[in-house]
Symmetry: C2
Subunit: 94 residues, 2 copies
DNA sequence: TATTTTGGTTTATAAAATAAACTACTTTAT
DNA sequence: ATAAAGTAGTTTATTTTATAAACCAAAATA
């Protein structure tokens, strides 16, 4: 009847981050913060969770003297996102 | 970019309940419990929240000696569900 | 009449989201 | 050179949610 929704993805901010990453394949922390409108603290926590789940890869480096955090979606992340979307259908009728 | 997701509906169980109610227009507590697989306690709490939000109407009566809780979706509930689905599109790409 | 079952509610606990505070460094202005 | 302000985050604390466990009242059953 109703398929379980992946709790990692069933979060407004994490879903937005995944949605963005699937579109661009790679993005900076600041880009994600601007696009989602999230606070840096919240974004930091949610990125960590997506990383822990293996849904994204996080690369920390320096760019023009400043720390820079780059995020990339992984293959399992794409799969999980697709499955989440499929599962959602069961709730949305038809 | 990303539309806010109604927090009342962005819950697996509450979304399932709304999905069921939109299909049938009226349902018993026990029906909802069976279809969703939720525990009675959890379902009781979530039904209360949907009621507090004005998304469903709850009628408590007795049927063949037993208490019976009937739930019906309201017009604002249907509207909120539809808006939730629309908002979700912004996360699912395309 | 004791036990189990039905149909729930209430309370307690665990997990999640969010905000506030903090770290570490850089740039700019004085 | 030094203070103030800005960048790019992380950590910690607080609030909110979700979930489970315990409970309640009445009815059915043994």
């Amino acid at each position: 009847m109703f398929k379980d929704l992946d709790p990692i993805l069933h979060s407004q901010l994490r879903l937005a981050v995944m949605s963005l990453l699937i579109g661009v394949k790679e993005a900076e922390f600041t880009f994600l913060r601007e696009k989602t409108g999230a606070t840096a603290g919240n974004l930091s926590v949610q990125i960590q969770k997506l990383k822990d789940a293996g849904y994204i890869e996080v690369i920390k480096q320096f760019k023009e003297n400043y720390p820079q955090t780059i995020c990339k979606v992984t293959a399992p992340g794409i799969k999980a996102f697709e499955e989440y979307v499929t599962s959602l259908q069961s709730y949305l009728g038809k």
